[in-house]
């Protein structure tokens, strides 16, 4: 059986996920989207306010430029405004909107490959590090630094897969819908991303961890 700590953590994330399902899959968002398809600006403002923070934080994982972040957020929600009538309910509204944001982000990464820097605003991360008052928080800050550097080494698609799964909490199937690819492709990207992170971040695996890791038993 699982150790108690791991079981508790599994229970926590499962509960959080259940709560998220209720919140994000709400009929309210679907109603807003239908109203937006009828050019209802009040509904559009509700949806905008609902997603502005989420999209900003997600996109900030890939660029520290706030003007670019706002531009991508507005581009995403502009597409929502224009195409709300084409939503067929094949996914959650949240998944559909994140998929639009993903395409905006990939376009930005393609058009300006040298510009984005990984990390949700390096200054914010550094401030967290400097402000860490005790050993536990200092270790957390160090962990974030390691992760920031490790994630920066991943190809865009692999980094995106990790972020969608761990930062936005999307399922494998949802990520496939967002990235418009097969579930098997998501699994493969996740697999390779994990191996690369294992190799670049051995400290996260504990002192006795090997430098490389795979699914070999």
């Amino acid at each position: 059986m699982l150790e108690d700590g791991h079981r508790r953590s599994l229970d926590r994330v499962s509960q959080r996920r259940t709560d998220q399902d209720h919140a994000t899959g709400s009929a309210t968002e679907l109603e807003w989207l239908r109203a937006i398809a009828r050019q209802d600006r009040v509904a559009f403002e509700h949806l905008y306010r609902q997603y502005h923070g989420l999209l900003s934080r997600f996109l900030a994982r890939f660029t520290s430029r706030r003007d670019v972040i706002e531009e991508m957020v507005n581009e995403t929600l502009w597409v929502v405004w224009r195409t709300a009538g084409s939503f067929r309910g094949e996914s959650k509204v949240r998944t559909w909107i994140i998929g639009i944001a993903y395409r905006c982000l990939m376009k930005q990464l393609r058009d300006h490959p040298a510009e984005p820097t990984y990390g949700a605003g390096d200054r914010d991360q550094e401030a967290l590090h400097e402000a860490a008052p005790d050993e536990s928080e200092a270790r957390q800050a160090e962990l974030r630094d390691w992760l920031r550097h490790g994630m920066a080494l991943l190809p865009d698609e692999q980094r995106m897969t990790i972020e969608l799964a761990y930062y936005l909490g999307q399922s494998c199937e949802e990520i496939a819908a967002i990235m418009n690819c097969a579930v098997g492709t998501v699994k493969a990207r996740m697999f390779h991303a994990r191996v690369r992170l294992r190799n670049t971040l051995p400290e996260l695996g504990g002192e006795d961890s090997p430098p490389t890791h795979s699914a070999q038993a």
Partner: protein, 210 residues
């Protein structure tokens, strides 16, 4: 040798960590995790990655200004598509158009006035064709050309005898326009008498058709 359960569990670990694995997948993985140190180690590793990535950063800008900018964009694009403008711009444009119409009306009126005046001036052309009726006094009846030898006394006497007087002449004073002294009086033989008189080069009736 790699067991199917090990590979399945290893693949499921990210979805266990983020809480999106199905109940059946979770049950399968939990059973294997309990017996596999490698998978537990990987689970712990991914759990730390998940925790490290989950830190929120305060990067979101202000919502209202950003939303206003998006609405401006939508307004502009809708205006471009439908040929209409936002209400404020429509009002400004309407006022501008009204002013332009007034200015245009004033301009047209001025142009029409100028054109009419110019037309009146142009009514009397600087040239005259043979078919153009000459401007004559209403009662003018004869065009009369005396010879240079006919002096003024002879001319006065000739006109007096025939009940005529001079009512007009050309610029050089060589062609006279004659009219009866008594308005309305008509003498059918006057032309013949004048033509027969000495010192007369031309006598021609004027047809007053105007």
């Amino acid at each position: 040798m790699q067991s199917p359960q090990h590979r399945q569990t290893w693949d499921l670990i990210p979805w266990l960590v983020n809480g999106t694995a199905s109940a059946s997948d979770r049950a399968l993985a939990e059973t294997h995790l309990a017996a596999c140190m490698d998978c537990r180690d990987e689970y712990a590793f991914q759990f730390r990655v998940h925790a490290g990535l989950g830190v929120e950063a305060g990067v979101a800008g202000e919502v209202q200004p950003a939303f206003d900018r998006l609405l401006e964009r939508i307004d502009a694009e809708q205006a471009a598509e439908t040929g209409t403008l936002p209400a404020a711009r429509q009002r400004r444009l309407l006022r501008g158009l009204a002013a332009a119409v007034v200015v245009q009306a004033i301009g047209l009126a001025a142009l029409a006035t100028w054109s009419i005046e110019r037309h009146r001036v142009d009514e009397a052309p600087a040239y005259r064709t043979l078919s153009t009726p000459e401007a004559m006094p209403a009662n003018a009846s004869l065009r009369f050309v005396p010879s240079p030898e006919l002096n003024v006394g002879q001319l006065q006497r000739l006109l007096g005898e025939n009940g005529l007087h001079v009512v007009g002449t050309n610029d050089s004073g060589t062609i006279y326009t004659l009219a009866p002294v008594v308005p309305g009086h008509s003498d059918p033989d006057v032309v013949a008498r004048l033509r027969a008189a000495a010192g007369v080069l031309l006598v021609e009736p004027i047809s007053n058709t105007r």
